[in-house]
Structures are given as structure tokens and as C-alpha cells.
């Protein structure tokens, strides 16, 4: 069993989350826009576009301290599990859930790991594109995880969250953030319709997330 899923929210994690949220506000003035859903302590999967390591910090900065303590970002084990330092940052400080994209052993099955976190009553932040989007496309195709989780735990709300500007604040390969204003738009919950198949649902969730972009790129 994943050691993180058993861990309580420690003092270190509280300090880190308060510190990072304050920093996120100082740098980006981040503000949540509730456009279809409202802050709630209900169990949720927040799914968002992914362009930067700062994404989940920004998203969790929009949640209340109590919700933040119950919400874990899902991160790639291939990257964050690479060294002891990275694992310490990801698991012990940020209380993320590490999953492996190329898993072999049954206990590494990402869906099982995420379900075990949900079964403790916690919420997840998920980036269904599976990787940081470095293309000119606004949003890549979704992987299946979102569908599988929703089928397995239909009571968990799926909230689309559009993260604005973060790719400009902290582009891939950069370490220092440029201060730019960011917003996170939280949309109406999406659910798998009865009998809906995988691809159809994923396309619908994809469209729901894309529709939240408050400032679509101008083609000039």
C-alpha cells in the first residue's frame, strides 16, 4: 500500500501549503472564479489543464485550508519519484499521490492507488492530459483515468478547472516564476451518463474544460 495514503496531514505539510498558497497569491494574485460550481467540502476530483509545475499549487491556493488538507494532487512517479529529494518534496511536503505511467506490478496500478486515496474520503487534483502540454494546442486529449475513476466511484463530483496563464508564469524548464495575474475557473460538475462509453465521456469532459477558458487566444 502506498505510504502516502496512510499519512496524516502533518505540520510540515500545513506549513508548506500555507506558505505556497501565500506565495502563489503574491506572485499571481490568484483568484478563483466559481462558474458553475461552488466551494464545498464534498469529495471531488478537480481536473485541470496542465502546463506547469505550479498548476496544482495555484489550484489548491483557491481552496480553503480545510479542503486543501483533504485534497491531493496526482503526480507522475517517473519524474517525482526519481530521487529522494524529489520524492520528499512531492510526498512529504506537498502530500501528492505518485502514480506510475509504465506500471508492471499490480500494486503499482494507478487507478487502484487513486481509488485508495478516494476511499479515505479525500479529494484529488488530476491532470487528465497525463503530461504538461507544451504544444500550441490549448488542451491535449484526455487519458482514460478520469472515466475509470468516475465509473468506480460515481458519487465523487468531477469538477473541471481551467488554469489561466500559468504556462507563462513558469514555463517548462524554468525555475523562477514571472509575476503575472492568474485565475482558476471552476466549472459545473461533469458526470458519466448512464451507458455512456469511454471516448464519448472523455471528449465531453475535454470540451467542458476547454469551454471555461476566459480568454481564448486571439488569432492575430
Amino acid at each position: 500500500m502506498n505510504r502516502l495514503s496512510l499519512k496524516t496531514f502533518t505540520l510540515l505539510q500545513t506549513a508548506t501549503s500555507v506558505g505556497l498558497s501565500a506565495m502563489a497569491w503574491a506572485v499571481t494574485g490568484v483568484r478563483p472564479i466559481w462558474n458553475g460550481s461552488l466551494p464545498s467540502e464534498r469529495q471531488r476530483i478537480y481536473f485541470a489543464n496542465h502546463t506547469s509545475h505550479g498548476d496544482f499549487i495555484l489550484l489548491s491556493a483557491c481552496l480553503s485550508e480545510k479542503e486543501r488538507a483533504m485534497t491531493h494532487a496526482v503526480a507522475a512517479g517517473e519524474y517525482w519519484g526519481k530521487s529522494r529529494l524529489r520524492r520528499f518534496i512531492a510526498e512529504d511536503m506537498l502530500s501528492s499521490v505518485l502514480i506510475s505511467r509504465q506500471w508492471t506490478k499490480p500494486e503499482e496500478n494507478p487507478i487502484e492507488i487513486m481509488l485508495s486515496v478516494l476511499d479515505q474520503g479525500h479529494s484529488l487534483i488530476l491532470f487528465p492530459e497525463g503530461t504538461r502540454n507544451m504544444t500550441e494546442e490549448p488542451l491535449l486529449n484526455f487519458r482514460s483515468g478520469l472515466y475509470n475513476l468516475s465509473i468506480a466511484r460515481p458519487d465523487v463530483e468531477l469538477i473541471p478547472c481551467w488554469i489561466e496563464n500559468m504556462s507563462r508564469v513558469l514555463p517548462k524548464g524554468q525555475f523562477l516564476p514571472v509575476p503575472l495575474l492568474c485565475r482558476v475557473v471552476f466549472g459545473a460538475p461533469v458526470a458519466v451518463a448512464p451507458g455512456e462509453e469511454r471516448r464519448g465521456f472523455l471528449n465531453r469532459a475535454h470540451a467542458a474544460l476547454l469551454a471555461l477558458n476566459p480568454r481564448p487566444e486571439r488569432d492575430d
Binding site: 494574485g29 507563462r168 524554468q174 523562477l176 514571472v178 509575476p179 495575474l181 485565475r183
Partner: protein
């Protein structure tokens, strides 16, 4: 100076209290739910309380308070400006330099009163070096647009804004140690003119000044605001080195520049397809929405005082 400051603070408190009472009476009488104009009016007045409180605190810390406050205002304004412009990944280091080097250095020049470098650091050195760095990165996509926007961003949000605390470095004979009052005069007159233009526009506004740029600006608002703000300037001449007539003239020029600043800011927002610069101040929008007039007025006011009143 303490005497003058007390009068200014009491005056501001009286104006704000009256505004709050009027807004409360209007809200109590108006049909529910309240119109968006009334809600916005109350938000604006509440934000003014916070802004006046912040300015007063900064005032009491004197040179330290003013320099730090306006450096932070530059930071917030530059952040809003750059957010609206087109940036690319290759601009990262230039953008970092704008926040991490240009702002601190420009305000250090204000602090040390190094006038010679203060006036040319951004328009000469940054103007030439920023595009050079961008060119060295080799990314020519929309090059001119990017470097022009970056240059304008630092000119407006850093260079112009830094002229407000720079007023403290001017040596006006017979006015030694009282320069903080020059800042108070400029801010009260220019921001007062904004409020007065808003009030005259709402009460009597009929003829739009420039419908393509800003539908809310009217000739009636402009003339009423400028005349009354000039009178306010004359009334405040006791805190300045100016005679009442001079104070009215200086106030008129500063407020006219302030009006033009608001017009330019509206044109930029229109071009970028947004209503407000940001969301920092409830009811007002962003920092640039509140300071656009001060941005245009400050350098001109600074140079008028420097040319005519210093030796």
C-alpha cells in the same frame, strides 16, 4: 507640517464619511435588488477607505513608506500590464529582469536621489538593452510587438509611477522638509479629479467625449471635473509652495494629464478586449484602473515643480 497633514486627513475623513452616508441613504431608498451602479458605488467608497488608510500609514513612515509603497504599486501595475500583452517563452528572462532588476534599481535611484540616472535609466538603457536580450534569444515571432509592449510596460508602470516618490528629492527653497505635502497635493488633486469627473459625468453627462475609446467619459464630466479639481487645488495651496492661482494652474495641468492617462488606458484595454486591468481592488478593477491618471500626471507635475520652483 504636522498641522497641514492633520487638516488634510480630517478633510479626507469628512469627505469619505459623507460619501458613505450618502451611499447608505441612496441604498436604503432604492428599490431592491440594488442596481449595479449603486453596488459599485458602495464598493468604490469602501475601497477608498482602504486606500486612504494605506496612504496615511505610508505617509507616517515618510520617505521609507512612500518609496516602498510606490515600488509595490509599480509591481502590481507592471504585473497587470504584462499579463495583458503577448509574451512568449523566450521572453522569460527579460520579463524576470523587469520585475527583479528594473523595479528595485529604479526605486533605489529614487531613494539615493541620483537624478541624472533616474531620468535616463529606463528610457535609454532599458530601451536599448531589453530588445537586445530578446534578439539574442533568437525568437523573431511578433518581435516588434513584444519589445514595444515590454518597453511601454516599464515606462508606464515603473518610470512614470516612480516620479511620485521622486518628488521627495526636489529641493524647493523655503519648502525644506515638507515635500511629502507635494505628494499629498498631487494625489488628492488627481484622484479627486477622477471622482469629480465621475460625479459630474453621472449627474450631467450627455455628450460623449470619445465614444470609440471610452463610453463613460463625457464633455460635461471632463469640464466639471477639471474646473472643480482646479478649485480644489487652489484651496489646497496652503500645503504647497504655490500661490492659490499657481496651485489652480498646476492642478489643472495635472488633472488634464490624468484625464488623458485614463483615455490611453481605456484605449489599451479596448484593444486587448478587456474591461478592467485586473481584480486587485473591489469595485475599481486593478491597480492600473486606479492609477492610470496618476501615471500620466506624475512626471509632468514633477518637471513643472522642478523647472519653476527648484534652484
Amino acid at each position: 507640517m504636522r498641522h497641514e497633514i492633520s487638516i488634510l486627513i480630517i478633510g479626507l475623513l469628512v469627505v469619505l464619511t459623507t460619501a458613505s452616508i450618502v451611499a447608505a441613504i441612496l441604498s436604503a431608498r432604492a428599490p431592491k435588488p440594488l442596481s449595479s451602479t449603486l453596488v459599485n458605488l458602495t464598493q468604490r467608497i469602501n475601497a477608498w477607505w482602504v486606500m486612504v488608510a494605506l496612504m496615511t500609514v505610508a505617509f507616517f513612515f515618510g520617505r521609507y513608506g512612500m518609496t516602498i509603497l510606490f515600488a509595490l504599486i509599480s509591481f502590481a501595475a507592471l504585473r497587470e500590464f504584462v499579463t495583458l500583452t503577448h509574451t512568449r517563452r523566450s521572453d522569460h528572462w527579460v520579463l524576470l529582469g523587469m520585475f527583479g532588476i528594473i523595479i528595485p534599481f529604479q526605486y533605489w535611484l529614487v531613494w539615493t536621489a541620483w537624478y541624472g540616472l533616474f531620468v535616463i535609466f529606463i528610457p535609454v538603457y532599458c530601451f536599448l538593452l531589453m530588445p537586445a536580450i530578446t534578439a539574442l534569444h533568437g525568437d523573431t515571432e511578433r518581435f516588434l510587438e513584444r519589445i514595444a509592449a515590454q518597453q511601454w510596460a516599464v515606462m508606464i508602470s515603473v518610470y512614470c509611477v516612480s516620479h511620485v516618490p521622486a518628488l521627495l528629492t526636489l529641493e524647493v527653497p523655503g519648502f525644506e522638509g515638507r515635500n511629502l505635502l507635494l505628494i499629498a497635493f498631487l494625489i488628492i488633486v488627481v484622484q479627486g479629479s477622477d471622482v469629480l469627473q465621475y460625479i459630474f459625468g453621472k449627474l450631467f453627462g450627455k455628450h460623449r467625449f470619445s465614444p470609440t475609446v471610452s463610453p463613460s467619459k463625457t464633455w460635461e464630466g471632463l469640464i466639471g471635473g477639471l474646473v472643480s479639481a482646479s478649485l480644489l487645488g487652489a484651496l489646497l495651496s496652503f500645503v504647497t509652495p504655490f500661490s492659490p492661482l499657481q496651485a489652480a494652474g498646476v492642478a489643472f495641468i495635472a488633472c488634464l494629464m490624468g484625464f488623458l492617462g485614463g483615455l490611453v488606458a481605456s484605449a489599451i484595454k479596448r484593444d486587448q478586449g478587456v474591461k478592467d486591468w485586473g481584480h486587485l481592488i473591489e469595485g475599481h478593477g486593478g491597480m492600473m484602473d486606479r492609477t492610470d491618471s496618476l501615471v500620466f500626471a506624475a512626471p509632468i507635475f514633477f518637471h513643472i515643480v522642478r523647472y519653476f520652483w527648484t534652484v
